[in-house]
């Protein structure tokens, strides 16, 4: 029989609460994007739910949340966002791991997590951008950087990388800081609800 991994971040056993967390997280992503649109913020704010789920239930649930999130976007808003399911899954894994190793309790750790999550998203999205869009992201500021870099005779991959960094990194840092605030302020009973693979010790 396979040895059971207690408290491993990679466990594939979820309790029902962790499973139900996924639709809620996708809903939170959706609302974050909606609020950012209503308030005309210059950021996307569309991964708050993914990051929160990753903090609460670990990297695997975070990755599933991210992937499902973009599939649902694809089915309801813009079909092309389905391909970015991979970058959202990457964000979920990074944030989940950082939270598992206790980095999401201080502001410094949160900023580091945001940078790492942003870099994960950048490194997965850039090849997709080049394959589908020839390197642009569709964001005004990012594409201005892209055009500027091409005009300076930089190679396409570098221009596209810069484009994506300008767009993704600030967004992810702000998102993770907001998530840290919510995560720390959450009651303990809610935090422990989604941990499904803890070892049960008996007292006698």
């Amino acid at each position: 029989m396979k040895k059971k991994l207690y408290n491993s971040p990679w466990s594939l056993e979820f309790n029902t609460a962790a499973l139900v967390l996924i639709p809620a997280a996708v809903g939170i992503n959706y609302l974050g994007k909606l609020f950012a649109g209503v308030l005309k913020l210059p950021l996307w704010m569309d991964s708050i739910g993914t990051c929160l789920a990753a903090c609460l239930a670990g990297p695997v649930v975070g990755a599933i949340c991210g992937a499902i999130n973009n599939i649902i976007y694809g089915l309801t808003m813009s079909p092309i966002s389905m391909v970015y399911a991979f970058s959202q899954a990457g964000i979920g894994i990074v944030v989940g791991l950082m939270a598992y190793y206790g980095r999401m309790n201080k502001i410094g750790g949160a900023v580091a997590t945001g940078i790492l999550a942003g870099l994960a998203a950048v490194s997965i999205s850039t090849p997709l951008n080049i394959a589908f869009w020839g390197g642009t992201t569709g964001n005004l500021w990012g594409d201005a950087v892209y055009a500027l870099s091409l005009a300076k005779d930089l190679p396409v991959w570098l221009a596209s990388l810069l484009d994506e960094i300008v767009v993704d990194l600030p967004d992810k840092i702000v998102t993770v800081i907001i998530v840290m605030g919510m995560y720390r302020g959450m009651p303990k009973s809610l935090q422990s609800l989604y941990q499904s693979n803890g070892k049960i010790e008996s007292l006698d």
């Binding site: 309790n15 029902t16 609460a17 499973l19 139900v20 967390l21 996924i22 639709p23 809620a24 996708v26 809903g27 939170i28 959706y30 609302l31 974050g32 909606l34 609020f35 950012a36 209503v38 308030l39 005309k40 913020l41 210059p42 704010m45 708050i48 739910g49 929160l52 599933i64 499902i68 599939i71 649902i72 694809g74 089915l75 309801t76 808003m77 813009s78 079909p79 092309i80 389905m82 589908f132 869009w133 020839g134 642009t136 569709g138 594409d143 892209y146 055009a147 091409l150 005009a151 005779d153 190679p155 396409v156 907001i178 605030g181 919510m182 959450m186 809610l190 609800l193």
Partner: protein, 258 residues
């Protein structure tokens, strides 16, 4: 409650077609032009998809979906037309801005590819109920637990949007400003989003209990409420689509060898 799904019941031919058929069409419509690698193949499939959307009476609904990507395509045409490496032949001179043939052709290729993928997906999602697709996957061995997750999203998001309206009204009545300078708008973000987050997390606890009480984790084989009917027409269309994909794979192999 407003549904977030783009599906609409129009009682059309495609509505009655099995969901597996339409999923296969989407895959084939994306794969075949990619394998053949010719712009005209893209154009042909785009015309086919537009025809299918038209007979399903949902052609008008594709306009907002296409216009979202249309703006991105427009920036691509401008940027690639002006700055792409290898641009040599000027075709259009607008004041200081020069558009080059190579860049414009390259961006035309991207535009055709993107519109083809978009229309193929539109054929599927405008004519198929999301729950039908998920049920189809579950029948083929997809985990029913994850299937529940997918279906429930379509119910949870409209609910959460209603909560969001309530909270926006409540916070406004307490004097929160949602318009003004960037700083004011940033400050408004947290008081709006955090109550929804907390209430939806508390809801998950109750939903988990409700599901477990109803045997959500039972290991027995699940049965279906709606029985799927696969007609002979569905089977023929499936065979034709698979044949088209195989033929284009053969074409590709022949190109490599020859």
């Amino acid at each position: 409650m407003k549904s977030i799904s783009l599906y609409e019941e129009k009682n059309s031919t495609l509505n009655h077609l099995d969901s597996g058929c339409k999923m296969l069409y989407m895959v084939a419509a994306i794969l075949v032009p990619a394998l053949i690698g010719n712009k005209w193949a893209n154009v042909a499939v785009i015309i086919l998809s537009v025809f299918l959307l038209a007979i399903s009476k949902v052609l008008r609904k594709t306009v907002p979906v296409l216009s979202v990507s249309g703006i991105v395509i427009l920036t691509i045409v401008i940027i690639q037309g002006m700055f792409r490496a290898g641009n040599t032949t000027v075709v259009l001179q607008l004041g200081p801005a020069a558009f080059y043939k190579e860049g414009l052709l390259y961006s035309l290729g991207i535009a055709l590819n993107v519109f083809n993928i978009l229309l193929a997906i539109c054929v599927l999602i405008f004519t198929t109920k999301p729950s039908d697709m998920v049920e189809n996957f579950i029948e083929k061995g997809f985990s029913p637990r994850l299937g529940y997750v997918f279906i429930s999203i379509f119910q949870i998001i409209p609910q959460m949007m209603e909560t969001m309206n309530t909270i926006t009204d409540a916070q406004r009545s307490r004097g929160m400003e949602t318009e003004g300078s960037l700083l004011v708008r940033i400050k408004a973000f947290l008081p709006l989003i955090s109550p929804v987050v907390m209430s939806s997390l508390v809801d998950t606890k109750e939903r988990a209990i409700a599901l477990e009480v109803r045997g959500f984790n039972a290991k027995t084989k699940k049965t279906f409420l709606n029985e799927r009917k696969v007609t002979t027409t569905d089977k023929i269309i499936n065979l034709l689509l698979i044949a088209a994909v195989l033929a284009s794979v053969a074409w590709r192999v022949k190109l490599w060898l020859g």
